[in-house]
């Protein structure tokens, strides 16, 4: 977050739509990186819905320096909502998020993501894309840290079993 971003937020809040346009340029790739792994094939819809929610709420953002963390929270929740709405009836096969650095993540991340529920994909995205720890992820998702922990991998074998099944 730069001083320039904070200046753009203040200008947008005071009615300058050119500043809003510039903010949209900056936020779009960031919001897309969060929404795509969570909403998968509905990633474009989720990105649009998240940005609509962000711009509707922009006037209420009290701390311009918190723009990206604030946008991240909205993006994660919108992506989960869109993913649930569009989710196929297949139940998630994986009940835990694989460990950081697990080679299967690099081999075929999309396959791993499709085997997880939208909520688990959100945990994985916050950890591996955003670099958040359990407590920070729990705060974004507005759930107890223990719930995040239970979604994270604690039994590498169970993931491998699901992967190889």
């Amino acid at each position: 977050m730069s001083d320039d971003d904070a200046r753009l937020v203040r200008a947008a809040q005071s009615g300058d739509t050119l500043a809003m346009n510039a903010l949209l340029d900056r936020l779009t790739p960031y919001v897309g990186r969060i929404c795509a792994p969570i909403a998968l094939s509905d990633g474009d819809d989720a990105t649009q819905e998240a940005l609509i929610a962000i711009f509707r709420a922009l006037r209420g953002l009290r701390e311009p320096a918190a723009l990206f963390a604030w946008a991240r929270r909205i993006a994660v929740h919108e992506a989960i909502r869109v993913a649930r709405r569009g989710s196929r009836s297949d139940p998630a096969e994986l009940t835990e998020v694989p460990e950081p650095g697990d080679p299967q993540l690099a081999a075929d991340i999309r396959d791993v993501l499709t085997r997880l529920s939208p909520e688990h994909r959100a945990v994985l995205t916050l950890r591996d894309v955003e670099g958040l720890d359990e407590h920070a992820a729990a705060e974004v998702l507005a759930i107890p840290a223990g719930t995040v922990k239970s979604r994270l991998h604690r039994a590498r074998d169970s993931f491998r079993k699901a992967w190889t099944s």
Partner: protein, 156 residues
């Protein structure tokens, strides 16, 4: 090995919907034209030419300065009012703001063929990101009628 995370894309029409959502009073009017994107966008991006036939209130636009995708323009409406616009113009996207007016135009190829065009804009509420929502839908519908006729080669 690098993890190749899925990515999302926001085409210009989706972009316009998002930006308009932050502007109370803004209405987005959309239409799908049969013609390909390049043809449709050429008509909309010609600010000093065909754009003025699509938006008659803006028929006397002169682009004063460009810097990358940013531009400054001056316009005189049919009622004689003058306005200085600042904004951005790039493929599929035109966003122009003056002290009292806002014009937003977006276009994107439609899956399956044709081009989706979206318009927003109107009279700005001073000091706020808001528009006076009077007559904007009708004006946008008429602008899209004129664009449709021009694109189809029947616009005179």
């Amino acid at each position: 090995m690098t993890v190749r995370w899925p990515t999302a894309d926001l085409d210009p029409v989706r972009r316009l919907r998002a930006l308009a959502a932050g502007i109370p009073g803004a209405h987005v009017t959309e239409r799908v034209l049969d013609e390909p994107f390049a043809e449709v966008w050429a008509l909309l991006a010609d600010l000093e030419g065909t754009f003025g036939r699509i938006e008659p209130d803006m028929r006397r636009i002169r682009v004063i300065r460009t810097d990358g995708d940013r531009l400054e323009a001056r316009a005189r409406s049919r009622f004689g009012m003058r306005a200085r616009f600042d904004g951005t113009l790039r493929p599929g996207w035109c966003w122009l703001q003056s002290r009292f007016l806002l014009i937003g135009v977006a276009a994107a190829p439609e899956p399956g063929g044709g081009t989706r065009v979206a318009l927003t804009g109107g009279v700005r509420v001073p000091g706020r990101a808001a528009l006076v929502p009077l007559g904007v839908r009708r004006a946008a519908d008429r602008a899209l009628d004129r664009l449709t006729a021009l694109a189809a080669g029947t616009g005179g």
